[in-house]
Amino acid sequence: MARLYQVPSHARPWLTAAILAISLPQLLRGPFWQVLLLLAILLWRALMDRQRAPLPGRWIRVLLLLGTVGGIYLSFGRLIGPEAGTALITSLFALKYLELVGRRDAYVLIIIGYFVCATILLFQQGFFVFLYVCLCLLLLTASLVGIHYNDSQARSRQHLGKAAVLLLQAVPLAVVLFVLVPRLPPLWNVHTDQGQARTGMSDTMAPGQVSNLAESSAIAFRVQFDGEVPPYRQRYWRGLTYSWFDGRTWSQARPDDWGDELTFYSGRGAPPLWYRDLLRRAADRPYWDYQVIMAPSQRRWLYALNTPVPEFDGLVLARDRHLVATEPVTGNFRYRVRSYTGVPMTEPLAPDQRALMLSLPEQGFPRARELASQWRRQYRDDSALVSAALHWFRDEPFHYTLSPPAVGPDVVDGFLFNTRRGFCEHYASSFVVLMRAAGIPSRVVGGYQGGEANPMGRHLLIRQYDAHAWAEVWLPGRGWVEVDPTAAVAPERVELGLRGSLSQAGEVRLPGDGIGRLPVLFQLRQWADLLEFRWQSWVLGYDLKRQNQWLSRWLGAVTPWRLALLLLTLAALLVLATALIMFRGRGPRSATPLTREYRRLARGLSKRGVRGAERLSAAQLCERIARRWPAAEPAALSWRETFERLAYQQDTSPSIGALRALRRQRRRLLRACR
């Protein structure tokens, strides 16, 4: 049996812990056999280190390797790509532990470990995840210290302490590097979003789609307000409008002859008429300033309060006043918006646009059409008809529920006249159908409503379950007017949010409910959320643009030379400071507390004209003082008495209390010398 290297017993716990900690996120995410593999490896290694098991032979190692690669292929269907690659490298990393033969292997294993650490961050980037990765780093560093300190006297705890000191000292420099090292654009193209599900509102809306979202408590976006947070019922985060209905599904549409240049404004070039018109109307309205951080949705829809005027940067404003990102949102995407409240949307309706907003399928929902024409006969005025419709929704026995029963083939009639139990998309959809049948141009709006306010950070957290759908009707003279039929049925949905309204109704439990509502935990959760929010906005969102903004505030213009100079200067200063702290008080300590006390007195006397006091003995010093200031003699004598008692005290250094007494006497003496 080959003589194999034994990781020093005092370093072994850290190495094992590091391998476990680094593998854990992958084990939670990946296939179950990886857990078994890791446990088997650790067990085998532990037996090997106790001479109970042999080093696995070459064939076993080759088999394990092939088995791992094969297993990854079977589980993931491929070997490359972030998920499969990470799973592979994590397992291979653990396997390497099994074939540790020399000290060199141990080094290589640990250094590779740093790389594996980083793969955790490919998938999760929360603050706590990063802390966890730092913990892995600490364990790895402790192992590195441990395998290098080949002395039987060494204790495990020492390594961790040393590693912690090193890491803590490394933090300031790392921060400087993080802030100052230029963010390069990607060198080559990578796709991290393969196979990742899109979340959030989609570009079509069918029954059941929004209520699916309502079961997720994932974060849709966060909003940070510059000033106050708007009240709950005003928080309608407008996303996109659906204008085309095929009898079941709503989808986005625009009149045939509207090109992109008519529909979107990107902030560049001459603003189109509708945009100038919008600015003019908004000019003296109150507004909210805020910034939104979208979570990755893999879609282009962005959300804002009505009426948004964004900072044009990576996004465009559509003519129906919603925001669209120029690229699908794959990472955290940040944008700033100013939303003017109460801006009338009084644009005239072009004939083909009007036709689109009135369009309905040829067939279907006879009863709804009949009800609409009955209303039409009853009310000449459009707005009277709208409020009549809302009254109808309120008075008829409609129910707001997350789990509506099956409606049948005709989704509109089935819902309006049979089941009468539905979610916001049912109400919005059937309301718009009724309006269109009555001849009122209207459309469905998809977005989010509400959001949990974090009182600590003046920011709102909008989760997927805040997804909402409502309607807009076009009234002559008033333009587009927002109408929320859900509010007519379940006003608490708009006042309290989904959770509030459903818990009132005693309906389903939502994820994160229950224990999360305890006051203490709730507070904790809000803190954690604030932390994550700051993390998102300061760390994760620190990109080239922000870096430039931030640096130009400090440097004036950001030129490579200035940047390099600043970077080097700061780094050098930090290293110097650390070195000073580390090497301070090194070597024979030149002055004992007593000597320092003596020097202080000498300094005080030299200010009063006694030169060279430092070279005198205590007795000589007192003599001088007595000669010069006879009044100070008693103080000088008592100081000398104390000083000499402490100085000639055997073996023990003077206690803190004694030194303090001496200090008091010195002050009294100096005061007397005048």
């Binding site: 490919l122 780093l137 790392a174 963010r183 990607p186």
Partner: protein, 314 residues
Amino acid sequence: MVKRAWQNWLARRLPRDHQVQLNQRRIFILPSGYGVLYLVVALLLFLGGVNYENNLILALCFLMVSLFVMGILHTFRNLSALTLRAGAARNGFVGGHGGLAVVLVSRGQPHRSVWLSWPGQDAQEVSLETGEEKTVWLNLALPRRGPVRPQRLRVESRYPLGLLRAWSLVALEHHCLAWPRPREDAPSPWEGRGGSGGTGRHGSEAFQGLRAYVLGDSLRQVDWKGYARGRGMNTKLFDAEEGERLWLGYDRLEGLPEEQRLALLCHWVLLLSEAGQPFGLRLPAMELAPGSGDEHRLRALDLLALHGNEGGQR
């Protein structure tokens, strides 16, 4: 040429001394092979972070880099202020090994995993805690007779991370003496009275008295009878007259080459010491008064080793 310039530079920068305290003038520091691997991993992370636009991977990379930078300070500190002092020497015969002791003293801080080695030798590892003092014996090959000075001692440490190695090349003022290798196939170099063939007894000399045993006295001269009676360990003293002393003389081996003469003398020194026979040694430039015991033997051997070197490197 380059080597010479390097040695000259070293000699100026790190002069030979009895005691050397390592400081920034004397410590060199460079990444080790693993350090390079580590930096490569950090570079990979940087590329990954840039490509995936992942700020946290970048942050991890920066943390690794600054860990490395702090490692420089710590590795340096592990060696700095370490004091090395020339210790005792164990002399040996030409062609064998001698030993030199290096005393390491820690002042105010621990020094961990310090490796000491001469070029072409396996390193010895030693760890010192604060205030500790340790002696390390290092073997030294003795290729020729006379004082043998080791090359510069390499003091190296990679603690704590192993990513960097800090080292110093220390020249301590110490040396080993290489005694001549003993030879016996030649005429005996002794003169004067004394045993024949070195097996003489002390009985022929006048017994003078006893004195307390001192380390280094020949065990053959111990008064064992008295010891057995419980009178303690005493050494018998004999008084031999000058003319009756046994002298080993360099001059008596005329006609032989120098080294061969020394080798013969060495042989006899060993032989006589083995037998407990007092002897004196006469070399052209030095003389050792007759005596016996381990101390005497060592002094004789040292004189032989130093022949032709007197005043040279001493």
